[in-house]
Symmetry: none
Subunit: 405 residues, 2 copies
């Protein structure tokens, strides 16, 4: 038995070797019954491949954060990756920066920027500047990069994300991230100056530096016809949690079409395998990763998008489309299928409801025939916290030693 590190909660050692693990996250897959049929989205979908997997799996329900807590995508994924989301609070700015591939250092402060439209008296008229295309967005961010000078002692970096979205990273000694948003979250009022109302001295210095930077940015863009302003929000400091390699002894690869999910994967030390343009390409990247990674994370977004649209049938269709992809993702090792949270189409929003969970392995204790809320509620795993899924996955993969003698 190789002593590597102890996991979790310092209880057990890991075993060398073991099966590979594939984690398939159907974003927002948990649902509520349709008023007309009494069936949830998962119950309404035709999913022959998931059904075949379910009969060989341990089933259960998982609570992303805690009862009644509706998670954002960042903490929900951290929990799926086995980290206590209440301990590792990761701000939006950091996730955005990691998502576009910026290599953050401990202590860096990042914020999300929106290119915005202001009127002649400096009031916000469009928080997204008419959603510029990517080429236009990149041009505007290039202007910021060329025209804005960092305050003394601060290294500054702007990077375009997508459409009107960009990210700003401040690097320097003694920065803090208790900095308030400049985005007023509505139109008809001017951007707010960044402040540190409850913050420490480091955050106050950072707010002052950010204020100087954003003033210059406004000056640089003032003559633009549409995107003549910048709004900042989600100031966050980068503190890396222990990565997958050290914590679990796993070489981990992430395949996600959206930057944010690549960001949260990079945060825990996963390698992001390319930027897939289609689900088919994403599956190909997963198959390629199987050769050199023993943990593969696959993120599927459409279930959440249709749920947020309030499009019940669309979400059912997204589940069925995912079912077609499933055989291409199954390499015979341990497979986990779950969501990061529920996004019931009847609510058109993320929710706190528990999420169906399936762990397929040769060490499973099968109890049901489908990955649905009703079948999983009766499953062998019971209702568990999402952050315990990784220990179960490692156990099912034969990767954990015994606790005590």
């Amino acid at each position: 038995m190789a002593r590597v590190t102890r996991f979790p909660d310092d209880l057990v050692e890991r075993m060398p070797g073991g099966d590979a693990i594939t984690l398939i996250v159907l974003d927002g897959v948990g649902g509520l019954p349709h008023p007309a049929t009494g069936l949830t989205e998962l119950e309404s979908a035709r999913t022959p491949n998931l059904d075949a997997m379910a009969v060989e799996s341990s089933l259960g329900m998982q609570v992303p954060i805690a009862p009644g807590i509706t998670p954002g995508s960042g903490p929900a994924h951290l929990a799926l990756f086995g980290y206590d989301p209440a301990r590792y609070l990761i701000g939006r700015g950091v996730l955005a920066a990691l998502g576009v591939g910026i290599r953050l250092r401990e202590g860096d402060v990042a914020a999300r920027l929106n290119l915005a439209t202001l009127d002649g008296r400096g009031r916000v008229t469009d928080r997204r500047a008419g959603r510029p295309g990517n080429a236009e967005g990149r041009r505007l961010v290039r202007r910021l990069r060329e025209g804005v000078t960092a305050p003394p002692g601060v290294d500054l970096h702007f990077q375009h994300v997508m459409e009107h979205r960009a990210v700003m990273v401040l690097r320097g000694d003694g920065l803090g991230a208790e900095v308030s948003d400049t985005d007023p979250q509505r139109t008809g009022v001017p951007p707010r100056p960044p402040g540190a109302p409850d913050g420490d001295a480091a955050s106050a210095r950072t707010a002052e530096a950010a204020g100087r930077i954003l003033e210059q940015a406004a000056e640089v863009l003032a003559g633009e016809p549409v995107a003549n302003g910048v709004l900042a929000r989600g100031f966050a400091e980068y503190r890396a949690p222990p990565g997958f390699a050290r914590r679990y002894g796993l070489k981990a690869v992430a395949v996600a079409r959206y930057p944010m999910y690549r960001g949260v994967a990079r945060l825990v030390g996963m390698e992001a395998a390319g930027i897939p343009d289609s689900d088919g390409e994403a599956v190909e990247l997963m198959r390629a990763a199987a050769g050199h990674a023993d943990f593969r994370f696959f993120h599927y977004k459409a279930t959440d998008s249709r749920g947020e649209d309030g499009d019940f049938e669309g979400k059912v269709g997204a589940i069925e489309a995912m079912d077609h992809l499933l055989p291409g993702l199954d390499d015979g090792g341990v497979v986990i299928v779950t969501g990061d949270h529920s996004t019931p189409a009847t609510m058109a929003a993320h929710s706190w409801h528990a999420v169906p969970l399936l762990i397929r392995s040769r060490r499973a204790r099968p109890t049901g025939r489908r990955l649905t809320e009703n079948a999983c509620r009766r499953g062998d795993l019971g209702t568990i916290a999402a952050r315990h899924i990784m220990s179960l996955a490692l156990a099912h993969a034969g990767r954990l030693a015994k606790f005590g003698s």
Copy 2:
């Protein structure tokens, strides 16, 4: 209402009086389905007495330590006894010493010893010295006792356990137990010197003392034809958790045929009622204990042994044999039947899978007809942590007061 102590987590007071509690542990009883029948060991067994008890019981599933964590017997039993197994980490040496009845004091350091065979160049050729009989084992340990002198400031005690197994206890001021095993866990290499690689100064001193003791032991046994060496492992310091009498107000008796289980029972202040040679004798000891103890722990080993052998039918038979003993153990009070963990015959090893749990009392909320994984999964108790079983048992016995007014 008598204020005695508060339990659990300082929430409620205990009530005077109440029913007696019998805890029957079928070691490793949880299982996985047989590939040919789809039935687990419990589902395959004919258990008329357990079935009759189940219809009068609250049923549930219990997780020994945490999701995905496979327990050894020590922490699994501590959890059944209501102690957080992550807080009370009890090493193998301490359990072995308590198992053979050594009265440890706080701060004592104990280690398990194996009598072993070394070749002419000091390399281990048999880690168990051909499994000597008990008389031979006792003779060899007597030689150690007579021939080895403790280093200054240390009281030393050797005791035989069973066959090739012995235990060594060091007593003195400022001892530590972060001492590495000398047992190399394989043949063809010499024993390792004891060290304290990550340890404190106290452990380093203890490692040095242990090294001098083991060198003398090797000298004493050098001329023996077979058992000419000693291997040490599982160095552990004794820190007593609060006992059953203080924590629960219970006078507790343990009946177990194997020393280790008597050891973990003594650790929490139970009296070990003799050393039964057969299951029939064990049942007689339980019946005798009923007169003077209000908590009776009965340990049944065969289920685990057959599970570890990978002998599905043998484990089924062990369950059926236990079922015959059950009426002799039931005195009409609260009866708990469960396992310390699962040992699926299909895995031939301990596992992390949840364990069926039955609490029979006149305050039960019955839901099913059998003590099986499937019936208990649907039971009233849900899926709980093993360390909550004791509060449920005390409640069912009418021994806990109300929390708040």
